[in-house]
């Protein structure tokens, strides 16, 4: 089944997102299937260290001359940039506020106005649990979607959902800011699974290890056209027991990852999680019955590189 969209969806995309999307697609074309990594260790993170790691990961992921050059290409100053966090697991396994602050500061230096940078999660409650303060911040506005969804569902393949208006209407460009962790059903919860948090009914789409549902969600034009960047806080990663925080299943991966490919960061996360699981004598995700098959489905849709073996890792 092919995606179906309302006229309103198409008008929004044509009017708001396409010019920026075309620019960003051109920028991404040269760097597909690349994941940029920068080392970042330690539980106590200084803002300066976080910013340095983020800058190095951005340059490694894009091949740009500088982090600001990378961001200017991906996010022209006219864009309204939404940064979707994954805070389900609370402070233990959510993006660190210092890294999010650093990304927002870089976006501002790249020319995006403070009022055009929106950091959001499903609810203000989840943001607070993860250490964020909803409201106006120095470099961005922080808010929960809470109940603000489109009034009508939009269909893409097997899914039919009301999208957060932040995603469908307000933002013209999107960043997934996730973590590197195991997911009981999807296998991997990194950059892509984070987008389940922008639809009203994610609980309907966990059958079959989220395949093809997650792939169908990613190919909806709201996401396919607007998501330009994935950032993963991999300072600490979790190889089992997700999506909740399980301290005994975490390990110090010690990196920040970035990718402009919609799937590559997740494919890389799959690889490093399987590596850690094998080191611990645990079965791989596939052997445990939850391979992230949705990655191959999404790759089949032409959304990016979902094969862990084909992802190029560039150290920043």
């Amino acid at each position: 089944m092919s995606p179906t969209f309302t006229r309103r969806d198409l008008a929004r995309l044509a009017g708001l997102a396409l010019p920026g999307a075309l620019l960003a697609r051109r920028a991404r074309a040269a760097t597909r299937a690349r994941v940029g990594l920068a080392p970042l260790a330690g539980v106590e993170l200084t803002p300066a260290a976080g910013r340095r790691a983020l800058e190095r990961a951005l340059v490694a992921a894009t091949g740009a001359a500088s982090p600001l050059a990378a961001l200017r290409t991906l996010f022209p100053a006219t864009e309204t940039v939404g940064i979707k966090l994954n805070c389900l697991a609370g402070r233990g396994m959510s993006p660190r506020p210092e890294l999010v602050e650093a990304l927002a500061a870089l976006l501002r230096e790249a020319g995006v106005g403070r009022e055009r940078i929106l950091v959001f999660e499903r609810s203000a409650r989840e943001l607070r649990r993860a250490g964020f303060s909803p409201g106006e911040r120095e470099h961005y506005r922080c808010l929960g979607i809470d109940n603000d969804y489109d009034a009508e569902p939009s269909t893409s393949g097997s899914i039919g959902s009301c999208f957060a208006r932040l995603v469908s209407t307000t933002c013209t460009a999107l960043i997934s800011f996730g973590v590197v962790k195991d997911h009981d059903l999807a296998g991997v919860s990194a950059g892509a699974k984070n987008w389940y948090g922008v639809i009203h009914n994610p609980n309907k789409y966990h059958d079959g290890n989220c395949d093809p549902y997650l792939a169908d969600l990613l190919r909806h034009p709201f996401l396919r056209q607007k998501v330009r960047l994935t950032i993963l806080d991999g300072v600490t990663a979790q190889c089992h027991g997700g999506p909740a925080f399980r301290p005994d299943a975490t390990w110090p991966l010690g990196v920040v990852a970035a990718s402009t490919d919609l799937l590559a960061a997740d494919a890389w996360a799959w690889r490093v999680m399987d590596g850690e699981r094998q080191r611990r004598g645990m079965p791989t995700l596939a052997a445990a019955g939850r391979p992230p098959r949705w990655l191959a489905t999404a790759q089949g849709y032409g959304l990016g590189e979902g094969d862990p073996a084909r992802v190029e890792v560039v150290q920043g």
């Binding site: 569902p153 009981d184 009914n201 309907k204």
Partner: protein
Amino acid sequence: MMHRRAFLGAGAACLLSGGAAAGQRSRPPDLHLEGREASWYRKLPDRRVECQLCPRACQVADQERGGCGVRENRRGLYYTLVHSLPCTVHLDPIEKKPFFHVLPGARALSWATAGCNVECKFCQNWEISQFRPEQVASFPMPPETLARQARQAGAPLLSATYSEPVVFWEYVRDTALAARALGVRTTVVSNGYIQEAPLKEVLPHLAAFKVDLKSFREAFYREVLRGELKPVLRALEVIRAAGVWLEIVVLLIPTLNDSEAEVRDLARWVKGHLGAEVPVHFTRFHPTYRLTNLPPTPLATLERAHDAARAEGLAYVYLGNLPGHPAENTLCPGCGEMLIRRAGFAVRENRLRRGACPACGRPIPGVWA
């Protein structure tokens, strides 16, 4: 601006005389859902649980919810988030459910919470059934209050309906118990997609059960609502065997489940497994939710289904969503006498005498007093 789903919730308590105060209706969007431990689940290793309420048998990790969206795993304990938290409460004629053989003309205090265990692409109430409890305006109303409200409103019946009572099954059970103590009877309007144990546990407390039989084809269940037919058929047999009054509704959707062959298969199964005297309602589809590309069911299709089911031997076959159609009426299957004349949800005439035909004396099954 108010969305339709907010309007549904906001309108709920307004219809109750002396109902919930305005301050009780709306939940702030960020309000924490307290929840209470669910009755039907088992614990698995790694703080996972398996829900034992519906045949989906969701295995749910810590911090996650089941497919219904209203049950949540919290550190290895499974919680229902909607007990005592309806999003809509209305006084309806019992004919609206529809029950045509239950206290004709009576009013039923009808309630629902958010959530459903399937996703019908044609759902008429998707604005509550396909949302999580924190996404719709809900208000606290314990079982005792619900039962008391029914009694105060002069309603002899309660009806768990609108979304899917299976997902708030503990609330249904506790309300039925509270209502019985006040002389109010409880009915359920459900998809019948429920495991046997929880169904059997609650059935003794119910007066009537209406099942939406979505189709008589597994493929339809799989493709259009991501459910299964077989467990629904089993539930129908369990309800019938328990002696709880049962009626069946089939929404006929053009091209998807409206073939005469399917209708005849369904009618034969009902007659063979449940008995010819179980009422079957064929109702008209209207395009909505994710199925807006199909037209409303033609009248001819509905009448053909009616005639086919009658020809297969079913005694009480009705047509719905067709106000004024003769097939809304109850006729005596013995002598053809008009017994109950209806117009939409209104009962115009009830000629039953102590549950029997006044002309030939044939007993008519149902809950009449």
